[in-house]
């Protein structure tokens, strides 16, 4: 086993870290306070080649691997989690899906612009009545000649009011459930498309989360991704990169919590000594550091597995589940270590705690990820052991999402 990063991975991490430390971290508190979208940082990230970084060079990307993409998201989120989520949705869902499932014409039309940061990407699955149970979505797409007419309301769309292209899921046949879902590339300039409410959030306040309203929204047939009814498969295919991306965001936030806590514990004196000398504080720091390392390894391993073309649905779920919960524990402890100051906006841990909260909710709630993991464990044809060094359980196909696990989501898992 070898835990070394390659030259490229290390250099990418170092470059993004330097950028994040110098140009992003100093802005983060202000962007959060003013709820200002990180437009300039995103532009700079585009110049560095971070936007669309996993897209091959012939479509304008850097051709980096999933591990590098996670390393970059960790560094960005360590400085500014709002920018982290914007990049994550842009890279790990929008660009990935267009590259993996788009036609040549769709790739040529969107990927170079997405990589240059001329347009931003969004991914829109959730609806008011369909969250975890994504397959129950109600937005419809009806074919009228060379157009589809989309009707419905989409919710919680990250980058929603900023995006130049949105991967949007709608049903072309409600009677067929998840097999009726189709994916579309929607440009906000088309007739019938309207940006609704911009959500006011607890955290990630510099990120954009919008409602999209579709009233006979006209989407040309050539903007359909794949065939009718293949939308759910498209959503599922982005599971791994999307979840690893959020796991990476969690690791970044948790790392920031740890660094702030170590710094503060050394400086803050009570009872005549730095609070770092109290064992109660030391144990918190030790737990935090250990969980962050575990989360980092789970995340990078899921990503490495993906880069090697191996199944990793379960690994990505484990990484997302563990990292998001570890980040919440780290943030809570960071605030605790800061005492009353941790509760004030003058210190960054207050923001870290608000930002971390959503991690166990989006891209699959913790409950849903436990469900996915348990289903794999209990499935009649269990997946190969998740441990490459463990007992081999044969090469059988992973009881993958195609067999009943929904996007962030379980098909028929909740509703009676």
């Amino acid at each position: 086993m070898n835990f070394e990063l390659t030259d490229a991975q290390r250099l990418i991490r170092d470059t993004v870290r330097e950028f994040a430390d110098k140009e992003l971290a100093p802005l983060a508190a202000e962007l959060d306070r003013l709820k200002r979208y990180p437009e300039k940082p995103l532009q700079r990230l585009a110049e560095l080649g971070v936007l669309g970084m996993t897209v091959p060079p012939e479509y304008g990307g850097a051709g980096a691997d999933t591990v590098s993409s996670c390393l970059a998201l960790m560094e960005i989120s360590r400085a500014c989690a709002s920018t982290g989520v914007a990049v994550s949705l842009h890279n790990t869902l929008t660009c990935e899906i267009i590259y993996r499932h788009g036609t040549e014409a769709q790739r040529r039309r969107y990927l170079p612009a997405l990589c240059r940061g001329q347009i931003l990407g969004a991914f829109s699955l959730t609806e008011p009545t369909s969250g975890s149970d994504a397959a129950s979505l109600r937005t419809t797409a009806t074919r009228r000649g060379e157009q589809y007419l989309l009707n419905g309301t989409k919710l919680f769309v990250t980058n929603g009011s900023r995006a130049g292209v949105i991967i949007l899921f709608a049903s072309t046949d409600l009677s067929r459930g998840d097999k009726g879902i189709t994916a579309f590339l929607v440009e906000p300039s088309v007739p019938g498309f309207r940006i609704g409410k911009r959500e006011e959030k607890m955290g990630l306040r510099a990120s954009d989360t919008a409602e999209l309203v579709l009233e006979d929204c006209q989407v040309p047939v050539e903007n359909r991704i794949g065939e009718e009814g293949e939308g759910f498969k498209v959503a599922l295919s982005s599971l791994v990169t999307g979840r690893a991306g959020i796991a990476a965001q969690a690791v970044g936030i948790a790392q920031a919590c740890l660094e702030a806590s170590v710094r503060y514990a050394r400086e803050r004196r009570q009872f005549g000594q730095p609070i770092a000398e109290f064992q109660a504080i030391q144990w918190k720091l030790a737990n935090m550091a250990t969980e962050i390392e575990a989360a980092r390894l789970l995340t990078l391993r899921a990503a490495a597995q993906k880069d090697r073309g191996l199944p990793c649905t379960m690994e990505a779920s484990m990484a997302k589940l563990f990292a998001s919960e570890a980040a919440n524990r780290a943030a809570a402890d960071a605030v605790q270590i800061h005492g009353g100051y941790g509760y004030l906006q003058d210190f960054p841990v207050e923001r870290y705690m608000r930002d971390a909260r959503v991690l166990t909710i989006y891209e699959g709630t913790s409950e849903i990820h436990r469900l996915i993991i348990a289903r794999q464990l209990l499935s009649p044809s269990p997946p190969p052991s998740p441990h490459p060094w463990g007992e081999g359980k044969g090469e059988g196909p992973q009881g993958g999402p195609e067999e009943g696990m929904g996007a962030w989501c379980v098909r028929g898992g909740g509703e009676p």
């Binding site: 030259d7 490229a8 990418i12 470059t15 560095l48 080649g49 051709g63 590098s68």
Partner: protein, 266 residues
Amino acid sequence: MHIIVCIKQIIDPEIPADQFKLDPNSMRQLRGGLSLVISAYDQNALEVALQLREKVGGKVTALCLGESGAMGAIKSALGMGVDDGFLVSDQPLLESDPFGVAHVLAKAIQKIGVPDLVLTGCVSGDTGDKVMGPLLAEALGLPCVTFVSKVEVKDGKALVRRIVEDGYELVEAAFPLAVSIISDDSNVPRYSKLRDIMAAAKKQVPTWKAADLGLEGARVGVGAARLQVQDVSIPQRESKCEILDGETPEERAEGLALRLRELKVI
């Protein structure tokens, strides 16, 4: 225009001071897994070279004498956009004194082919000898300008901006030429672009040993060293915090100004 930039890999000077450890025998800093970077002014030198290449065309080569891990420094330079890199890595060579190091680098430069311009940082971020540029120029028989922030080409000659106290000199010199680089606003090192990093990772970098350069023990290595560091002392820094009282912001500002004057800071 061919430019060779000599870069040194050092322990990141940003590490916390308590991680700084000295080897009592060699009086050198112990690496012990600490993060390594290209010495700061060497990065400025890379930037000067890349800007010059953008203006007049040509090629930039990075050259490093270091441990095998110094390949990381070459790869970083390639990531910034230099065209190729060479690593000289052979344990005995690393124990050379600055005179020996200059000899090694000169031999390597001769093997690559003496370029139009040789750049070094004006001082390294670890040992801080400030001699490599001039020693290297001497070894190569080139004219040398030190503490330069910018190099331009005019009528086939180099026009270099040499930073002196309270100003600068513009020096004209004929190529080939050796120049040591200091930082200013014009040569802030660029970020690597991810695409260049990906290309850098794939690039082959030749690694040379003493024998490849025809180096003899009499000129290099610990045996040939004519300088030896006898002792190093680490200054003890104390910091203390004072809180100034005052009713209004104006009072507090006045108190601060008076205190700073007392301390002869202003």
